[in-house]
């Protein structure tokens, strides 16, 4: 199997997956939860559609504007404008004893702004530190490869995975009301960690093979390295994916979208480490040679 020879096809597949997400991101943006923008979230357990209609009527009569509804098996979550506990008490009074409020959360503007800032900072700092570490760890890699190039290619793969997940969630948010919360940021950072984890395993083998096989045929060394680590990559990802599927099916509704984000990201991470990160090293090498 020659993955490197078909590398442009694999880049194309990545683009086809990423572009719809980016389009959605530009058109509709992200559906942000109250973790990022001030507001309240009310979650009720419901038995049927009537209950949901009843809740919505009461919210309307109290002049509470609903900006997002998320329905799962027996829970319904409303994202509304900021309301205080007095208002919440009034709503509960009107609801009576049939419908139980499971969760009530209000987040002010200060916290929301802070969470957004911290999320962006965390993503940037983590990426930067990882490039730094890879550059350091691969410093002994023989010519013509350079350790900085390894670091940058790992980050490109990482950005690829982040874009896939953010794009998918932009689409999910627009059509199904799925919201981006602070757990999503956690998922994103985990995916980044995992993506780099996967990429490093492949890169590590390239480093080893460059020493063993020499670097005269760089594309071939990279291809061999990908093939040698393929079984491991697939098996590891499969294990994690199986665990995530178990969590998705039985882990409860509060972490459902968190798990979905991880599933999308880890699938993408496996793909990008095999079909993007290492082939990108070859592309860079070829481009350098052409320039000379």
């Amino acid at each position: 199997m020659n993955i490197i020879a078909k590398k442009n096809w694999y880049f194309l597949i990545s683009l086809l997956v990423i572009i719809p997400g980016i389009v959605s991101l530009f058109l509709w943006g992200l559906n942000l939860s109250i973790d990022f923008t001030p507001g309240s979230k009310l979650t009720f357990s419901i038995a049927n559609k009537n209950d949901q209609a009843k809740i919505e009527n009461i919210l309307k009569s109290e002049n509470v504007k609903i900006s997002n509804v998320e329905v799962s098996e027996n829970l319904v979550s409303y994202r509304t404008v900021s309301i205080d506990q007095n208002k919440n008490n009034k709503i509960l009074e009107k609801l009576g004893n049939d419908i139980r409020e499971e969760e009530f959360e209000t987040i002010g503007p200060v916290i929301g702004r802070e969470t957004t800032e911290n999320a962006i900072k965390a993503l940037l700092i983590a990426s930067f530190l990882i490039v730094l570490y890879i550059t350091f760890s691969f410093r002994s890699v023989p010519k013509p490869a350079s350790s900085l190039r390894f670091g940058i290619c790992a980050i490109v793969a990482l950005v690829h995975d982040a874009l896939v997940v953010v794009g998918v969630f932009s689409i999910l948010g627009h059509f199904w009301g799925v919201q981006i919360d602070s757990l999503f940021v956690t998922a994103l950072l985990t995916i980044i960690g995992f993506s780099v984890h996967d990429t490093i395993v492949v890169f590590d083998r390239i480093r080893e093979n460059l020493i063993k096989m020499g670097s005269s045929d760089f594309p071939n060394v990279v291809n061999e390295s990908i093939l040698q680590t393929l079984v491991r990559s697939l098996r590891t990802s499969l294990t994690v994916i199986l665990v995530l599927v178990a969590l998705l099916l039985f882990g409860g509704e509060s972490i459902r979208w968190f798990i979905v984000a991880l599933l999308v990201g880890i699938t993408s991470g496996t793909y990008s480490s095999i079909f993007n990160a290492a082939p990108l090293l070859v592309l860079w090498q070829e481009w350098k040679e052409k320039k000379q």
């Binding site: 002010g108 802070e114 570490y133 760890s137 985990t190 083998r205 040698q228």
Partner: protein, 408 residues
């Protein structure tokens, strides 16, 4: 080779210790469950510091925290968590498992009211509020209070100063009470009842065989009244008890299921090696759970939340990765015609750089998450980081020792 035997004993010892820690009768060792699992209310408060001089802001914040702590202790909440935090402003984070929102709001809602009252019926122990009479003196009349030492006896004391406008009032009231007790109450709770030695005008001191800690605490209470900081709610969250319980049950079930899947998967893929790895994985889980429990004996207790459990289950997946890397490498070396025992050693040593680099990158991510995250994000990061560290031990040390014993 003596070393693997010693390592084996260490593993056996750690495993037995971990099993003992998991036994339910050790009441002091419990998991601390977050609000999303236990149900309850979490409130983030902002302290309005605009009237407080910068040098006293930290003290004022601690004082306000202590006031809330006292109120919470009075109603007897199990495992409350009350923390101060300095972000862009001064904050107090209150987490009360099992307490509904309204009740929690009542606890944090009003500012601490400190009163000085005349004692009608003198007793040696705590004086009930009913047995005292108003003097008109409150915390608002105090300027500040600090723990200090008596210049003559060296005894720990609390010295305090009055507000300028309150000096006449205080002098008059204390003049009347010379030789009698004056009780100090915070939110109608008895704190102390020093005997008034002389009329107090601009400043005074409270003596009475205190320990240093006691003077610190008394000063804090006095300051809580003297420096009442208005608190406003930045965010609040309430989780009903049923949702918490069902989340807990579901995540535990998912965790067990995930674990069983991994064990089956490894056994099918790698046969006897897979079973060995599974035993190492059981040890991994036991050690991890023990760390969660033991951490609660230290100030850095780990609170288990839904995302924390997800992080833990994920770390099991990552722990397996190290084993897969090693086993694949061993197979490769065997295919190249190496002897089994050589292949084992080579498998470990050649897979090590990948395991090290990939785990360090995960540790970097968790460290960043821990630094920038709040609440659930922090829990997740901490659990993931511990998981990665323990997994290095289980995959490299435990599995390797087992293999060395079997293929010798």
């Amino acid at each position: 080779m003596n070393q693997p035997r010693a390592t084996l004993w260490i593993i056996v010892f750690l495993t037995i210790a971990a099993i003992i820690i998991q036994l339910p009768f050790l009441k002091q060792l419990q998991f601390r469950k977050g609000l999303d699992l236990a149900g309850g209310t979490s409130i983030t408060l902002k302290a309005d510091m605009k009237n407080i001089p910068i040098s006293q802001r930290d003290t004022a914040l601690t004082a306000a925290k202590n006031v809330i702590e006292r109120r919470v202790n009075v109603i007897g909440v199990s495992e409350p968590l009350i923390q101060t935090a300095k972000a862009q402003d001064y904050r107090i984070i209150v987490e009360l498992p099992g307490v509904p929102l309204q009740e929690a709001m009542n606890l944090v809602g009003t500012k601490g009211k400190l009163e000085f009252r005349e004692v009608l019926k003198a007793t040696s122990s705590a004086i009930p509020y009913e047995d005292t009479k108003e003097t008109g003196l409150t915390g608002a009349d105090l300027k500040d209070a600090t723990p200090a030492f008596d210049s003559q006896t060296g005894q720990p004391i609390v010295s305090f100063r009055m507000q300028d406008k309150s000096q006449d009032k205080f002098a008059k009231a204390t003049q009347k009470l010379i030789g009698k007790q004056m009780a100090i109450f915070l939110d109608k709770q008895y704190i102390s009842a020093p005997v008034v030695q002389s009329s107090i005008r601009d400043s005074g001191q409270i003596t009475g065989g205190f320990t240093i800690d006691a003077t610190k605490q008394l000063a804090t209470y006095l300051n809580a009244g003297a420096l009442p900081i208005p608190l406003s709610v930045l965010s609040s969250r309430t989780v009903g008890p049923t949702l918490g319980l069902s989340s807990l049950e579901k995540s535990l079930f998912a965790g067990v299921l995930g674990f069983v899947i991994i064990v089956l998967f490894m056994s099918i893929l790698y046969g006897r090696l897979g079973i060995l790895a599974s035993v190492a994985l059981i040890i991994y889980v036991l050690i991890n759970l023990s760390i969660f429990k033991l951490s609660n004996l230290t100030p850095y207790g780990i609170t288990l939340t839904l995302s924390g459990i997800a992080g833990f289950i994920l770390s099991i997946g990552m722990a397996v990765d190290a084993n897969i890397l090693i086993f694949e490498r061993m197979k490769e070396e065997e295919r190249r015609g190496r002897d089994k025992d050589v292949a084992i050693e080579l498998g470990f040593s050649r897979a090590f750089p990948s395991i090290r680099d990939s785990n360090i990158s995960t540790l970097i991510t968790s460290a960043v998450l821990y630094n920038f995250g709040t609440g659930p994000v922090r829990g997740f990061a901490l659990v993931l980081a511990i998981g990665v560290l323990v997994s290095m031990f289980s995959a490299i040390v435990v599995t390797r020792t087992f293999l060395r014993f079997i293929y010798k």
